[in-house]
Amino acid sequence: MDHHVSVTVDGTVYSGTVESRTLLVHWLREGIGKVGTVVGCDTSNCGACTVLLDGRSVKSCSVLAVQADGAAVTTIQGLATGDEWHPVQVAFKECHGLQCGYCTPGMVMATVDLLSENPNPTEEEIREGLEGNLCRCTGYHNIVKSVAHAASLMGGTK
């Protein structure tokens, strides 16, 4: 069964035909070429596929593309404004919050969401806020520092 969908992704409206079973992450990657968002697992544990859907973090592997019809999606590719990096991107680079980079799109989008709800998180709140995003390279230590640094860049008082 096919459906027509129209989704605003990173500020641009994309329309297309999807099967019922097409996952949002596959439509992003293969349907519209947004390869910055990746797939890491099949049980919604790893969070590498995290994007913002209508402003909230979701795991795009557990959303059907047809469910995103009419919605606005933000991916890692839509965070920067022209040449100006998003503070979370700045912070991850400054704090060495990534190594291989595969978990990074999801980790960054989860961080954007975390800080939108809690602009001034404690270390414990950061760690719990990222419990849905697995990383195998960094041991999380510098990711936590990156999030705290991003919070300060964005005006959190810590």
Partner: protein, 284 residues
């Protein structure tokens, strides 16, 4: 990884949803947040011919309150539930337990109704609904009916919701003043399902527990009330009495043995964690 083919329909009303389920046959599945259904589909553990998306049904939205209860639409997301001022003040135990479900991204999509109707024995919310004697409003071809929590959970992954019915809303009584609550979740890692969970609500008057409600997660195919503990807690004042009462926590349970825990360890945990949860809820 990629689900088998299925038809997707998004009805505009409960009546349409019920009709879609009926025409879809007994293997049709309701889709709400999809956080339980999507992994099943991706691993091809299930292959429903049609998926009925109920997440946007107007009748399933919203959180409302009366003087003595809070009614939550089945499609309310976990995030909406745990951040709702109405829930936090009226049914704090539900907010506490919901905050432990999965992770933030999953909570943005997963729904209260979906979790309860899925009835995973390791799910956190059924024990809360049972402890609080929630009532469930279910819609079918013949109209709506209400079912008590005690009757709602029938077996593992099985509830009173029939094949052509959908859960519309869940109503939680407010406990009122003098009650303390906590949800104690014991797991191997933060992402992992509860090995055992304890939903505890206790009323403390004059330094003593006068009433207790204890729901246990993952101690049986359905959530269970630790009724023996509830009875033994009346009059308890202090940690020693609470822990003594908590020794009855495994009574009436039939925990499984799985990769995370054998049954005897679960029983032990139920006793220890019930004591701790009650102490915390009672402030003793």
């Amino acid at each position: 990884m990629i689900p088998a083919e299925f038809d997707y329909v998004r009805p505009g009303s409960v009546a349409e949803a019920v009709a879609a389920l009926k025409s879809g046959g007994e293997d049709a599945k309701v889709l709400a947040g999809g956080q339980s259904l999507m992994p099943v589909l991706r691993l091809r553990l299930g292959a429903p011919p049609v998926v009925v998306d109920c997440s946007r049904l107007p009748e399933l939205q919203g959180i409302t309150e009366t003087g003595d209860s809070v009614t939550i639409g089945a499609a309310a997301t976990h995030h909406a539930v745990m951040t709702s001022a109405v829930v936090k003040s009226g049914v704090p135990l539900l907010a506490q337990a919901t905050a432990t479900v999965a992770d933030p991204a999953i909570r943005h999509r997963g729904t209260l109704g979906g979790s309860l109707a899925h009835a995973d024995p390791a799910g956190d919310l059924p024990a809360v609904a049972l402890a609080l004697d929630a009532t469930f409003t279910i819609a079918g071809a013949g109209g709506t009916r209400t079912v008590s929590a005690a009757d709602f959970f029938v077996d593992y992954f099985t509830t009173a919701v029939g094949p052509d019915e959908i859960l519309v809303s869940v109503t939680f009584p407010k406990l009122g003043a003098g009650w303390g609550t906590t949800y104690e979740k014991f797991n191997r890692t933060a992402q992992a399902w509860a090995i055992v969970g304890v939903a505890a609500a206790v009323k403390v008057e004059g330094g003593k527990i006068t009433e207790a409600r204890i729901g246990l997660t993952n101690m049986s195919p359905t959530p269970v009330r630790a009724s023996a503990v509830e009875a033994a807690l009346v009059g308890a004042a202090g940690a020693d009495a609470i822990n003594a009462a908590a020794q009855a926590a495994a009574e009436g349970t039939s925990p499984t043995s799985d990769l995370s825990a054998q049954a005897d360890y679960r029983e032990h945990l139920a006793r220890v964690l019930t004591g701790r949860a009650v102490c915390k809820a009672a402030g003793m």
